[in-house]
Symmetry: C2
Subunit: 527 residues, 2 copies
């Protein structure tokens, strides 16, 4: 019985008898339980494994039904030889020394982990009462009925299922591409469904573009602060990722101009409609300057249009790509943000010369996106189900944004600054001087408040004085309470820092544990 | 009206009025139709665009409802300024020279296209009556009701949808990973759900492994003939892809031994359960030899278990990974083959040291697989819906395989050889001498017969004398007829070649257009 080493999973919805039968089958199939072995008597097994005797008997019955065992009255249950002949290979290798294979020397070089990557990796996913971490949506507001209808639709008739089963186009499910083309009209983009490639969300759009354009050592410009996933994908290709600062009008094109004069840049990545994470809308003057610079230096632009549909005030922003006569802009969007993150469907509108290569990279990587999710989305779009959902979400999220801004005005200590975005799902906050970010993070966590730390949006270790508060998945009352607790945590962290300062002024910077990083920040900022 | 340049899509299920309204909206949003512009009168527009006046009126009404236009009695319909202010950027850039952006100089180096890649690219997808090309499934045998139930299940209650919407784990949907772990029991694999990573099908498993292990110039061994997608993914990483021949017992380990003595190899890719495309089952002796070589040279193995469930005779083959005490084998499987190709769900069982890196590569590339397809599959597996489907498919495909083998025995000219697999979806055929493959391909196409040419499965230009016949998606009567037509095409190609030979023996090779390639084949074979 000991050899059986069965660990029942009592949380599972699989009956215990099947769990045990499955486990015994593995042992037989892999040759660890060879033909002719006698299984322990049911009473004995039940005692040893801590399950009922009925379970053991049922498991043995299942094994017999699978043709793996036979019972002889008065003798017991035996593993049959026939179906699982003890193969020589299995015995031979079982005798081999099981020293662990040394993978480490074989792995491809990984980009050195940036402070952002380290911060990202150490982000916890624990449940907390006041959760302002990003990437989540309000699940209770999802259109349950519309979604159920849309996912089931292709399975309602043989004809529809036949189309689905015959689909192989790496560019995506044609009806979905038609709907996306139609949807992009609102963004001033007039494109043919043939220009659209469906991908697995925005991260995938960035990764495929990087795969096609970027070689190790190539320079790529990203926003600072900016979407961490972009930096991650470019760094994974070995790119030299250059951050260019943003302000209330979006990317600082004066700084970009300087970078472009100094270095040949392969790609400029921007989020013009809703800068991630500051929410800044790129101003017309900056758009013009960006396009002029891209033209002057013949640099392509990647337009990440991730949150374009979550706009609470002001007119819909036209896409940068709406003004792209030369075909220099890769435009990409996603449905994960407006529905739910596990729905991995996004799209790329790529200029013609790039499209073939993007599709070739796509085929080599995973052939294409899942057609079930694509067909469901096509149905949702065609029946305006997504529009209806968006209208509801805009109202809901606008209310939450207002609640968050009101709470911030009420609860934040003097000197705290924050953005007042008109779109997106984040408020970007800058701590006043004298608050240690580590201490604040701990104090907030102790009060059940979680947020994303600023470093994640920087490529160079800056950003500790920032944090992002995502409001989309938190109701208004919880926002108010959570922000109040955050305010208390901030005041506590500030007074603790002051106390530290009074007690041992010289050791202060060291105690806060950030002196080294601050210094190197300064150096990088000066670069 | 000419400026509106509207192309109605009459095949679309979107009402014409909405199509026109959408088109006009793009023009407004992108600033091409500026505020204050007067839209053409409905009668005039109807005439010019060839649609009814009612359609024009309806389109204009929709534009007004979208807040983009206003009508003044007796004056007409005007584009409003408010919602779409003519932004300076749009006008400025509209004046820019629209010379096409020069992408070509910016693209990352692409691996030189192999003969296989060229053959793959030129494969047509035209519909033909006798279609033996691979990658398709019998759609009419898919479990419509089970699938409909499984996809809709997560959308049947708010609670379930909330779980789905909260999912973010790049390793995959936990219930699916539990089901996969349970399923792998049949293959002798006892693994914890935590060891499994869900990916977008087998191609993705190969690509992610390549991304983590292979650097430009690294040697990777693949089977010859072998799955073209593997060679594609390794080549995309810049690998030096080395082919090792297979025979009726699978990979020739004697040849592998020679390669491993000469070169440091990063990975050996194999399909032990059903060699792709020959269907060979790797013999116990070869398995043992492969594991011993991998141990001796400390080379990891990638086990592609793509068709493991489509076995028509003999016992289920244990996975190679079932005998992996050192943790040296990456095992991967897929559901696309047993359900339909557009279902992009597969899995990787990776040794612990590799798993972290595979998941990191996953996050940088696309975060994770779509949860809708994953949840549907989990439901199908939990209720044994996939097992029931597989039992039906095995019966169905076994019948088709038998029909194909019978037809081949009846119809093939002397000297033709073919495999008689006990699993999979292909028969691998070797042409007799004296049949020009190009001529045969044309002759077969003229008779409505399509198949995949042999070159696709070779990395070095060999294989022209082979072809693959996929039987899974063709009914038995069509198989019989199609193979009969193929036989006629072969005899015709053979007699044409004989006639050519009689008429102009010296020019024969050149006329066949393969002389150059044949020569270089020889050179490569000798390497």
């Amino acid at each position: 019985v000991l050899e059986i080493a069965f660990r029942p999973d009592r949380a599972s919805d699989v009956p215990m008898a099947r769990q045990l039968a499955d486990h015994l089958e593995t042992l037989v199939r892999s040759g660890r339980l060879v033909g002719g072995s006698k299984l322990p008597a049911s009473r004995e097994a039940a005692l040893a494994l801590g399950v009922s005797r009925k379970t053991i008997v049922a498991a043995y019955d299942q094994l017999a039904a699978r043709g793996l065992t036979a019972s002889h009255v008065g003798q017991g249950t035996f593993v049959l030889l026939d179906d699982a002949p003890p193969r020589p290979v299995l015995r031979a290798t079982a005798a081999r020394t099981p020293r662990e294979f040394a993978w480490s020397g074989l792995l491809a070089r990984e980009p050195a982990p940036t402070p952002a990557a380290i911060a990202l990796r150490s982000e916890s996913h624990d449940r907390v009462p006041y959760d302002f971490r990003g990437g989540r949506v309000e699940a209770s507001a999802l259109p349950l009925t519309d979604l159920r209808w849309a996912v089931a639709r292709p399975f309602r008739s043989r004809t529809r299922l036949r189309e689905l089963a015959a689909h192989y186009d790496p560019a995506g499910w044609p009806p979905l591409r038609r709907e996306i083309a139609r949807m992009l009209v609102r963004r001033g983009l007039s494109c043919d469904p043939g220009e659209i490639a469906v991908v697995n969300g925005l991260q995938h759009a960035i990764d495929l573009t990087a795969r096609v354009l970027v070689e190790p050592g190539d320079a790529v410009v990203v926003e600072q602060p900016g979407y961490f996933g972009a930096a991650l994908a470019f760094a994974a290709r070995g790119a030299d990722v250059l951050g260019v600062d943003v302000d209330a009008e979006g990317l600082r094109t004066d700084r970009l101009a300087r970078v472009l004069r100094l270095r040949r840049v392969k790609l400029v990545y921007v989020t013009p409609a809703t800068q991630s994470p500051t929410g800044a809308v790129m101003s017309p003057a900056r758009r013009e300057a960006l396009l002029a610079l891209a033209d002057e230096h013949q640099v392509p632009i990647f337009e990440d249009d991730y949150d374009n549909e979550l706009r609470y005030a002001g007119p819909v922003q036209p896409a940068l790509k709406a003004t792209d006569p030369a075909g220099q802009i890769v435009h990409a969007g996603t449905f994960s943000k407006v529905l739910f993150p596990g729905l991995r469907v996004g799209y790329v509108v790529a200029p013609r010369p790039l499209r073939r290569r993007v599709l070739a990279a796509r085929v080599a990587s995973d052939f294409g996106s899942g057609v079930v999710e694509q067909a469901a989305l096509a149905g949702l779009l065609a029946t305006r189900g997504l529009d209806r959902h968006l209208q509801r979400m805009r109202r809901l999220y606008a209310g939450r944004l207002a609640a968050m801004l009101a709470a911030l005005r009420r609860e934040m200590p003097a000197g705290t600054r924050w953005t007042e975005p008109s779109s997106g799902h984040l408020v970007w906050l800058t701590l006043p001087a004298g608050i240690d970010p580590d201490r604040l993070h701990q104090a907030a966590h102790a009060r059940g408040v979680a947020y994303t730390r600023g470093e994640i949006w920087f490529t160079d270790g800056r950003g500790a004085e920032h944090l992002a508060l995502a409001f989309a998945a938190v109701d208004e009352a919880t926002i108010s309470k959570g922000v109040a607790w955050l305010g208390r945590a901030m005041r506590e962290a500030a007074s603790a820092a002051r106390a530290d300062g009074l007690r041992r002024p010289a050791a202060r910077a060291v105690a806060a544990g950030r002196a080294g990083r601050r210094k190197s920040d300064g150096a990088q900022r000066a670069r």
